[in-house]
Symmetry: C2
């Protein structure tokens, strides 16, 4: 990011004006488009707002920009040559297409994290740098010669990675499969995208858990799907609810996150899994099982996937490295019947021509390496440690205001706030104090719930982060209860 | 891929029956689904067809599979437990969704290349292993410590790569831009996919070149776009055609591949570029410029992109490493106004959560390294050498039957066949003889054209490959002319 040169003899406001003029002439801000506000620019460039005001005045005097009260500062439409030229109406193009933008809360959180890198992050559902096997991956990359041909990959993904996954799935997940039943994807996200785009049609009804991270994914709405909810109690969803949704709405698919469910941390109970499979086979109904968290089980055996009990092929199984190794690898996988794998591989070729071979090679090496098991052991221990820190802090700071069940794995703690407060106000108060979380309504729940991710923050940030959150909450409770 | 163990005491047909039973029970072939044919299986497993027939008989006797004359062999629906269980009707799901499958010719080519790895490949539009900078990339990967945090990346892509591209675009392509105007994508393919999915709506009219690789991409049809064609003569498209398409059909966007166009190799003439920009600015019409080949220019300065002359921001510029370094990196980029970059970055998060950081780091290192320029020099020389070999072979083998203009860059030679023969028959004859190419109709042209890629085959395969192609062509000409 460009910053003004404070050593230069040229006044800073002139440097800024020149810089903006350059960006305008490069086409980053076409004629008629809105410039960032004075406040935003002054933050980005680390200068006083008055300096930006001077720079804008300079550009205005040259006729390059125009400001109108209340509607911001825009690039002039008139200066670009004598004959009228029309830049495409880019904002109308940006509003077109079938893709919904991300949820406002999610965009607000991303924006806050970009603008204030020092925010304590209880929002991003991923591992912190110290939990990811960065050293191991760096070592594997320098140890192994990746001399294989870097051409377009097999449409289903790099064969040695699929072979390594066959062993991994048998050993760790009790799933017997073959490399030809596996599709490598860019994380679970791409698996879900392919399923919603290529196997379902607009207007189709599907069932998701309630609450569910699926609710936070606009891809379901973008695909024109009708979402119906399966309430999650402490043992997960009730299989009979699936049957009644099928009767009422002819649901075409059920999306499940059975092990340490996101956001609630619930484990879908074993007896209910059998019942769900029975209902599915009775109705010929496909189940999509997203299983990113199970290997984080803090103690004992990780819960088995539904897929391991699926004898007739009702389940599309999705896994990923994002939550147990590194989300930046962008490696996920789907296990599915051959017709589905081939169909989705063909469609994916049209979208992005497949994944880069390099991270697939790294992932295959990592799976087969002696680093994998010790990494998992360390990960589990450290996640549990961070969870303990979070829970201690919550009990210390807000003993009467949060209720939760402690999950036995995963990255998240799902909390009910007492009394209920306004989601959006709480988020803004928290951001103002330097901490960010995900409001429960993002997952389709009522106002008054919060998801804390304890995997992303550093251990020594967790206590201070919760202290800031507690301040924000107390501020709101104070407000809504009147002054104390 | 599993193969029977010829040292084992167990008969091979029993091994095959066991293997198939295992794959069926894993859900790869759910009840009711079609098994590969006897012929295909015998090829895949390198056994006689009679051995597969015996294995099928074994499975049939166990009630696991059922064969019906003319409709192939299917997994039984009835053996899986006493109560009737229904596997989801996966083939119906596979037919759903808005995604069209790839063109039959493209699928046939891919299938042939998978089944016969020894085919001489004039079809895949990519570099051979010896043209790609594999050694350089391997060295960069072991030299540099990639210790940065492997978390979810910035939605627009890895910042150091975008910074490196700002210098690259200024130095090699005459494009002045900023890192905030760049979106890193999974090759040009993903840029095009994002544009067609997110900036256009079903029913919108767009213009593409004729012939054009765009025609081979079902993504245009999948997005519900109406395609109108701009005929390419030896100087490219005619700008006045754009205006008349706009008047008639209100086209919303023009897709251009101006430098060494795929498939014709044409360079869009300089004066026409200016006229096209004038038409675009008059109509407020966006131009998508895909520019993957220009740095392969065999002699002299590479042709400048349209974007370098675009003063008002009409052009969405797309570039990629696929054709000048390695397609397996899956690194491309788009330069676009801020509103567009942000919109597409947001949509891409929903599809795949962005690219892996690792190949982006590698690409940034490669761009900044001292390997980059020598690599380009070597690439140009070797491409020209392979082009010469192809042309010599064609002139030797088929002096009277092919016509072409020699392109000054790129990877492809576009040939007219004299006399015209049936596209599909020629392809099958060629595959039977061990060589594969892309029929011209894939790019929307009439039957009787062929695209040869000379970059993918090894130098010593080019002569023999054209000899095989000549045999196939003569066979067809002989057929259509009756016996000589």
């Amino acid at each position: 990011m460009w910053k003004p040169d404070r050593q230069s003899k040229e006044p800073i406001y002139v440097q800024i004006a020149d810089h903006l003029e350059r960006r305008i002439s490069y086409g980053e801000f076409p004629p008629g488009s809105l410039l960032p506000s004075e406040r935003k620019l002054s933050e980005q460039l680390s200068v006083n707002r008055s300096t930006v005001i001077l720079a804008f005045a300079e550009l205005r005097s040259m006729g390059i920009i125009e400001s109108r009260t209340g509607s911001g500062t825009r690039v002039s439409k008139t200066i670009w040559g004598a004959t009228p030229k029309h830049t495409p109406n880019w904002s109308r193009y940006a509003e077109g297409g079938s893709f919904l933008p991300n949820l406002p809360f999610m965009r607000r959180i991303r924006e806050a994290l970009t603008q204030q890198p020092s925010l304590i992050d209880f929002a991003s559902g991923e591992l912190s740098a110290d939990l990811a096997p960065i050293d191991e991956i760096t070592m594997l990359m320098s140890e192994h010669k990746y001399t294989s041909y870097l051409g377009y990959d097999n449409p289903q993904g790099y064969i040695p990675l699929r072979q390594a996954l066959v062993s991994y799935l048998a050993k760790y997940r009790g799933i017997q499969t073959t490399e030809s039943s596996i599709l490598i994807t860019s994380g679970s996200q791409q698996s879900l995208y392919l399923i919603t785009q290529c196997l379902l049609s607009p207007g189709d009804a599907v069932a998701i858990e309630d609450p569910s991270y699926c609710y936070s994914l606009p891809m379901f709405q973008s695909a024109g799907l009708r979402l119906f909810r399966l309430p999650v109690d402490r043992h997960g969803v009730r299989p009979e609810d699936v049957r009644s949704l099928y009767k009422k709405h002819r649901i075409k698919m059920v999306f499940m996150n059975p092990n340490f469910q996101n956001p609630t941390g619930t484990v879908f109970e074993a007896e209910r899994r059998k019942q769900l499979l029975d209902v599915a086979s009775e109705l010929g109904l496909p189940i999509v099982e997203d299983d990113p968290f199970s290997l984080t089980a803090y103690e004992g055996e990780p819960p088995s996937p539904i897929k391991s009990m699926d004898s007739i092929g009702s389940v599309l199984y999705i896994g990923s490295f994002s939550k147990i190794a590194a989300s930046g690898l962008r490696i996920g996988w789907m296990v599915a019947p051959r017709t589905i794998v081939e169909r989705l591989a063909d469609a994916r070729q049209q979208m992005d021509f497949g994944l880069s071979v390099i991270p697939q090679q790294v992932a295959a090496q990592f799976l087969k390496s002696s680093y994998f098991e010790p990494h998992l052991d360390r990960l589990r221990m450290q996640l549990k440690f961070k969870q303990d820190l979070l829970i201690e802090s919550l009990r210390r700071e807000l003993p009467d205001h949060v209720q939760f069940t402690v999950p036995q794995g995963g990255l998240h703690l799902w909390c009910k706030l007492v009394p209920e407060v306004h989601d959006g106000k709480l988020l803004e108060e928290a951001i103002r104090r330097g901490v960010v979380f995900v409001p429960g309504s993002v997952y389709g729940s009522d106002s008054g719930y919060v998801r804390f991710t304890y995997a992303r923050a550093k251990a020594d940030e967790i206590g201070p982060g919760i202290a800031k959150f507690a301040e924000a909450l107390r501020e709101l409770i104070g407000e809504s209860n009147g002054p104390r």
